[in-house]
């Protein structure tokens, strides 16, 4: 898995709540059997609107997405973080995430950061106001900062942080406990 340590990038504000995985990557693009080739179809339907945030030249190359609550709700499709990652996003900031989506992000070297609604709104408005607005996400220190004095500590589970920092293969970690798995199987028929 791709490691995540520290990342600085342009922020795109997607001021919508309940962004579901059907919007992130519509179903007609789920027929591929590879992990790649999804980025160009990210937010496919919304991108037909020229005013959509990711169509605006000022957000071209954005790698940090800020969005409303319950981001990634709906289907379990891992194609959603694959599409976001291939499009260039490394971190997503929102007041809350759907559970499966957040899990899927961690498995793909992408960091979902949960902040308070007020903090997200502040970042959203800064990204809308200041052209070229960037954030630095530091997973080691668990901070998110801009060059205008904003500095926020965020919470992430210790284990997920460790796996992301090291870029660990968690299947390999589980297989280290082969003896315990076998023991469980023997004692449970």
């Amino acid at each position: 898995m791709k490691a995540f340590t520290k990342h600085t990038g342009l922020v795109a504000p997607l001021d919508r709540a309940n962004v579901d995985t059907d919007q992130i990557i519509p179903k007609q693009f789920l027929k591929r059997i590879e992990r790649t080739g999804f980025g160009e179809f990210l937010f496919y339907d919304w991108r037909s609107d020229p005013t959509f945030v990711l169509n605006q030249p000022r957000y071209k190359g954005a790698s940090v997405l800020v969005a409303g609550k319950n981001f990634g709700c709906g289907s379990s499709r891992e194609h959603a973080p694959w599409a976001l990652g291939e499009f260039g996003f490394r971190a997503i900031v929102a007041p809350s995430f759907a559970d499966i989506f957040a899990n899927n992000c961690f498995k793909n070297g992408m960091l979902p950061i949960t902040l308070t609604t007020e903090q997200v709104e502040e970042i959203m408005s800064r990204a809308q106001q200041h052209e070229g607005y960037e954030l630095t996400v530091d997973l080691e220190r668990q901070t998110i900062e801009d060059s205008r004095g904003l500095s926020i500590l965020f919470v992430v589970s210790e284990f997920q942080r460790y796996c992301l920092l090291e870029g660990l293969d968690d299947i390999g970690l589980t297989l280290k406990h082969e003896d315990l798995i076998r023991e469980y199987e023997l004692s449970h028929g």
């Binding site: 519509p26 027929k31 590879e34 339907d45 499966i100 498995k107 199987e185």
Partner: protein, 455 residues
Amino acid sequence: MPTLFDKLWQSHVVREARGEPTLLYIDLHLIHEVTSPQAFDGLRQGGRKVRRPDLTFGTVDHNVPTTDRSLPIADAIAANQVETLRRNCDEFGVQLYDINSPEQGIVHVIGPELGLTRPGMTIVCGDSHTSTHGAFGALAFGIGTSEVEHVLATQCLPQNKPLTMKVETRGALPEGVTAKDLALGIIGKIGTDGATGCVIEYTGEAVRTLSMEGRMTLCNMSIEAGARAGMIAPDETTFAYLKGRRFSLDEDVDYWKTLQSDTDAIFDRTVEIDASQLEPFVTWGTSPGMVVPVTSYVPDPTDEAAQRALEYMALEPRTNIQEIAIDRAFIGSCTNARIEDLRAAARVVKGYRINSSVSAMVVPGSQAVKRAAEREGLDRIFHEAGFEWREAGCSMCLGMNEDILQPGERCASTSNRNFEGRQGRGGRTHLVSPMMAAAAAIKGHFTDVRQWQFK
């Protein structure tokens, strides 16, 4: 003290360590064509095997056509995905219920039907509606493709322990108000993120009196409230359903009876709902939480999301729900395509013709459901009313195959998600129960099925 969830969790712990997720053993892994190919690729790249092919079962459901199965799949990319699952199951020794198998069907319909789903199990699948299987008193949840690979390789999953939420129903559901309406009522009350991070246990009279089909509908929609899983303690209804099913011959009813929350169990959250006050529901927006009773009106928008939803749905605030005309009706999906759902819809349809402005289809949840319905003559009732009678699959619930809405079309759908474009780009979905969808197909607009004149 422990809840049902605590008991299920505790009995599957392989390893616990401070500061790390718990390693849980998985008893049943269901796979399908859309979320598995990359997982098998990962296994090959890592030189790994499927640890327990005997606990892994596959079927094709998401992108298969629901038309004539003697023809090849016309969509070359979909055909390749199905063929890939076939090759992967063959290579790794996994049982596959393929497109022409008599057991083929939606993964969440065939699991219970075959008796693969049983009380006390941990069950995962690369599909969010895996919560369905919780109806049997199992811990069942959806996972992503990386986790599918993890389970294939290790039969385990590292998991952080979720919180627990009790949804306590009081009173019984009135006539014409179904498990689907109960689910929509709960989501309307707590919101689409109301249970995020939680496993729900549904309790109370309205839940106890539900059939297994109804319980599956209710647990199925748990994910629409953001829940990690939904579950119902097993009882005589559960045991009777499982009796004689192919993989459920080794019944352990005495153990199953212990799978209940203790009377003094403590839940992190509790939500109460008076089932006797519920009505048939219709969603008006683009999220399952945007829902009102059929006797109500499209609400005035209170925020930007609601405003946007109204625009997408082309609805004016204060429109009477029963004045909303539909173009299509879809009876199907892992939420509502079991035999009882089809019986309920057929009872409404019997003796009527669908409205001339509506096209309607019934997609049974599995080949077994289809056969059972045909034995009872339900297919004839639907046919005579003008419904199309299709082969089993996910179909227009997510529109991965040819079964999609055209832009602007409005559909009464028994599925689970009314997201923008879910059933086809520009399509407008209203979630309802099977009876409500059937009645809307006949009237051409939504109508209160409690007033229906059955023939």
